[in-house]
């Protein structure tokens, strides 16, 4: 007989840590982006994706709103807005 023993990663969807956000969330302006990929590199969740310029976006299911992406963007193309404010993700 076996109880809980191993976790198969394919079966694990992760917690929806987007629900942790309280005050702020990032808004990807997608205007002056140079596709430097710093936001992708710096996100502790790894929940940002994008390829060409101005295609970068976070995944709100997982984004904890830490604000690091906004801090590192060299073009200030990511801003932190209030959770529940008007900006919507594309």
């Amino acid at each position: 007989m076996f109880g809980p023993l191993v976790i198969k990663p394919s079966k694990s969807k992760g917690d929806k840590t987007g629900s942790w956000r309280v005050k702020l969330k990032p808004k990807f302006l997608q205007k002056n982006c140079i596709a430097c990929k710093m936001c992708i590199l710096i996100c502790p969740e790894g929940c940002i994706q994008g390829k060409e310029k101005n295609t970068y976006i976070n995944n709100e299911d997982y984004c904890k709103g830490c604000g690091l992406c906004a801090q590192v963007c060299p073009k200030a193309d990511i801003v932190m807005i209030e959770e529940g404010a008007e900006g919507e993700k594309k």
């Binding site: 917690d15 710096i42 995944n59």
Partner: protein, 292 residues
């Protein structure tokens, strides 16, 4: 995000966690042909809570102090199976699990020359159990077991020189890295993986909770540690210092005042001077100052 990331989002690290960031950078750089052995600590706890796991590579957690020893067994098994050449082995843990309780196992692994990369995520305290002091807690830091008070300025001991201790084992590659320099982390991991034998990389990772700073400052604070000379970014190859990131040194006070764990020192010029001395010694020892 990557459709099949090796370190998946949905883990329960604190927002802005430097260790989560670094762990993701490390496994991305190492690639999917990697077996990871993890010590007990923040990273292990927030990434492997049944039934969820953030790891898309084979990953095992055993105990607090034995990642290096378990990894030695994994490596030996891979050699026996004839698979070592196509499989990377990473043993990783926090500063406590590496420099304190895990020092014996690490030393044995290095001395026996196993083909393993050991990564130490240095957030400078036992953060997972509630911010207690470790052998890598820096001088002056406020931790729950070295709290400042009428009779104490906080942690009175200096960081154990783990990179030098690792280097003294005569291993091919030792490096320090920082969450403030993410591409450098990946470069060093890739370089280490390409070398056969034991490697040691120590990554400075700010902890917003334990260091008491805002979550979005993780990157900046990590950079400040490097830019003040308090956390030199160096590389040893076969015992020789081959690289050190040059800096235009900033005064340590800039780094200290950004974090709550040094708040109690800000009115204490004596102590700030002590810490500046640590930085100055590093700058001298590793020749960190940009010339000209």
């Amino acid at each position: 995000m990557d459709s099949n990331p090796l370190f998946k989002p949905g883990h329960t690290a604190c927002a802005g966690c430097g260790q989560a960031l670094a762990a993701r950078l490390v496994i991305d750089a190492a690639g999917s042909n990697t077996i990871v052995v993890n010590n007990t600590g923040c990273l292990e706890v927030f990434s492997s809570r049944y039934p969820e796991s953030a790891w898309n590579v084979p990953w095992i957690h055993s105990l607090f102090e034995n990642a290096a020893a378990v990894a030695s067994g994994v490596e030996a098994a891979l050699i026996y199976l004839g698979k070592k050449d196509t499989t990377n082995v990473i043993a990783q843990g926090g500063d406590g699990g590496t420099a304190d309780i895990g020092l014996q196992a690490l030393s044995g692994m290095l001395e026996r020359f196993h083909d393993i990369l050991y990564v130490c995520y240095d957030n400078e305290a036992y953060e997972n159990t509630g911010i207690q002091r470790s052998g890598l807690t820096p001088y002056g830091a406020n931790t729950t077991t070295t709290p400042p008070g009428a009779k104490s300025i906080g942690n009175i001991w200096y960081k154990k020189p783990m990179p030098e201790i690792a280097n003294a084992h005569g291993i091919p590659y030792v490096a320090t890295a920082s969450a403030g320099f993410p591409q450098d982390v990946q470069r060093k991991v890739k370089k280490a993986i390409s070398i056969k034998g034991p490697k040691y990389i120590q990554i400075h990772v700010p902890c917003p909770l334990g260091w008491r700073h805002e979550t979005e400052l993780t990157y900046q604070i990590a950079r400040l540690a490097v830019e003040t000379g308090l956390y030199p970014l160096i590389e040893y190859e076969n015992g020789r210092l081959v690289a050190a990131r040059k800096i235009q040194p900033k005064p340590v006070e800039e780094y200290l005042k950004a974090q709550g764990r040094f708040k109690h020192l800000l009115n204490n010029p004596e102590q700030i001077k002590q810490i500046q001395e640590i930085a100055d010694n590093n700058i001298k020892k590793y020749d960190l100052k940009i010339q000209g």
